[in-house]
């Protein structure tokens, strides 16, 4: 028993000593990285016009942070515009992209290239250059790939589906712990689906810790009913659309006649 007590006391003393040394040499305490999104379920109803999503948590002090908001990789088929006959701009074919997410947001405390090595950037697919290396595209060569990838990013950014920002993450320290917070606009153009928020804690050009949180965007109520019906019960949807238009037209015609008007 005495021996056990002695070992226990020695272990506690050792832990206190280690903590003392950490605080003494670094001036800070350590904290496990956490991530929490305020909205984990965004519902798309008739009055939906996008939303806001905030991410907050704690991290180890003296770490930089990168927050990636994205969804599973998918394939995209887009129309390419080109000049035909040296005069008219028209669609000149399809651009097929594999392994590409619909939504891709990167927020970081500093420039990603300054705080993370190229290997780590590629490993975690952080930033547009890493995403370009990750995707596959039906183009002739690397030059064409870069050209159309830049056009793709421009296209996605115009719909607010892709963005990168630096310095928008708020940081504050309290009790030796770093608190972070960011508020982002959730675009109404983002299709329904599952999204993942991943927070990377970075030190010495390496990712030392990650934490994740998820966001579900889902159509609900009448919006879901209309969208499902248009896809899965197209004949009934078409008939309802026609009958509603006929009803409205007759109704207005009757009112119009009662008021003494004429076409």
């Amino acid at each position: 028993m005495k021996l056990q007590n002695w070992v226990g006391k020695a272990f506690i003393i050792f832990q206190v000593a280690v903590m003392f040394l950490v605080v003494f040499f670094t001036g800070r305490a350590s904290a496990q990285l956490t991530a929490k999104a305020n909205h984990d379920h965004i519902t798309v109803d008739f009055f939906y016009h996008g939303s806001t999503v905030s991410v907050r948590g704690v991290s180890d002090p003296d770490t930089d942070l990168i927050i990636k908001l994205t969804c599973d990789d998918d394939h995209q088929v887009l129309r390419k515009k080109g000049k035909v006959g040296g005069l008219l701009w028209m669609n000149v074919g399809e651009l097929k992209i594999e392994n590409v997410p619909n939504v891709y947001y990167i927020h970081s405390t500093k420039d990603v290239e300054d705080i993370l090595s190229r290997d780590e950037i590629n490993k975690y697919i952080i930033g547009y250059p890493a995403l370009e290396r990750h995707i596959k595209m039906n183009v002739q060569d690397e030059g064409e790939k870069t050209r159309w990838f830049n056009e793709f990013v421009k296209f996605r950014e115009s719909s607010n589906l892709y963005a990168t920002t630096t310095g928008k993450i708020s940081l504050s320290e309290k009790d030796g712990v770093q608190n972070y917070y960011i508020l982002t606009q959730w675009p109404y153009q983002a299709p329904p689906g599952h999204y993942t928020v991943t927070v990377y804690a970075v030190r010495d050009k390496k990712v030392i810790e990650t934490a994740t949180s998820s966001v579900l965007v889902e159509q609900v109520g009448m919006v879901k009913s209309f969208a499902d019906m248009a896809r899965n019960n197209a004949a009934a949807y078409g008939m309802i659309s026609i009958l509603a238009a006929l009803g409205a037209g007759f109704g207005v015609g009757l009112v119009f006649r009662k008021n003494g008007g004429a076409h």
């Binding site: 088929v77 887009l78 390419k80 159509q219 248009a230 078409g238 026609i242 037209g249």
Partner: protein, 305 residues
């Protein structure tokens, strides 16, 4: 206030489609055209995918044309026989148009073809209306020109087989003529989402030589059924009718048409026609610029997987 459109998959300020409906309905009431040739490109301008804009516009034209047909039928101004011949062509044309747009979408050229067709149609209609309204000011000369053109066309039409008399219109024509004209309008309605009245009315006046009051009622009758068919086919085949957008457009266009019809009786026709011609030509110029100036984005969403 914003509303989310379940098929267009975008959110839109309701004032835009309601206001657009009011504007186009007003023009409809003033000038007796369906207004689709203005509605569809303006919807595209506000971010609605072109195929959804065209299909949804067909749906709202159903409502606009049914009230017009109803009003004209009540006063006996619908030539059902002529209308049925036009319809026979219209149904065939609608089928060709919907299948055509599917093929074009698969090829990735639908937007370009729609825009080129718009440029041609709007350019022709705009120029026609502008010239016609100027000519109507110099009425004597105008009538002489019409008489000359009418006689040449009439000789050709009389030479065609299957001649039949249309009692309500008081004209005799080959049955082939309204079928072909109806077919042409059906193709346009399917591809562009227009009722075709802006094209059909002058053709019926100058080619078929029908009286004006019967033309309007019969044209609306034909457009109504063609757009019912196109709406169904677009819903069933391409899933591109957005019911909510159609309802928003209807709210504006039905009220606008009433206001337009009321004001139309008080204003001078030539002034209104020139104004409409200028609007149509302005839209044409805008689309020409789109086709010739470098676009800000070189990629657009594909039609389907």
């Amino acid at each position: 206030m914003y509303l989310y459109l379940p098929v267009a998959l975008t959110s839109i300020n309701v004032l835009i489609p309601v206001g657009l409906g009011l504007l186009v309905g007003l023009l409809s009431g003033l000038f007796g055209v369906g207004g689709g040739f203005l509605m569809t490109p303006i919807l595209i301008m506000f971010g609605i995918p072109s195929t959804v804009a065209a299909a949804t516009d067909s749906n709202q034209i159903v409502a606009a044309s049914v009230s017009g047909t109803y009003a004209h039928w009540k006063v006996g101004n619908v030539d059902f026989k002529m209308g049925i011949y036009l319809l026979a062509g219209g149904f065939l044309g609608g089928l060709v148009g919907v299948e055509g747009i599917k093929i074009l979408r698969a090829m990735g050229d639908a937007d370009f073809v729609i825009k080129i067709t718009y440029v041609l149609m709007l350019g022709i209609v705009g120029t026609y209306m502008f010239v016609e309204s100027l000519q109507s000011i110099r009425k004597k000369k105008h009538e002489e020109t019409l008489e000359q053109k009418g006689s040449k066309v009439a000789i050709f039409l009389r030479s065609l087989p299957l001649q039949t008399h249309f009692e309500k219109s008081g004209v005799t024509h080959s049955a082939i003529v309204p079928i072909i004209l109806g077919g042409l309008v059906g193709v346009l309605a399917a591809i562009m989402g227009v009722g075709g009245g802006f094209l059909m009315v002058p053709v019926m006046f100058y080619v078929l030589r029908m009286p004006m009051h019967v033309i309007v009622g019969t044209s609306l009758f034909q457009i109504l059924f063609t757009c019912i068919e196109v709406t169904f086919l677009q819903s069933y085949t391409n899933h591109t009718v957005d019911f909510i957008l159609a309802v928003l457009l209807l709210i504006g266009s039905t009220i606008g048409a009433q206001v337009g019809a009321t004001f139309g009786r008080k204003l001078k026709g030539d002034q209104l026609k020139i104004l409409l011609a200028v609007i149509v030509l302005a839209v044409t110029v805008k689309i020409v610029f789109e086709l010739t100036l470098s676009p800000s984005l070189l990629l657009s969403q594909g039609g389907g997987h």
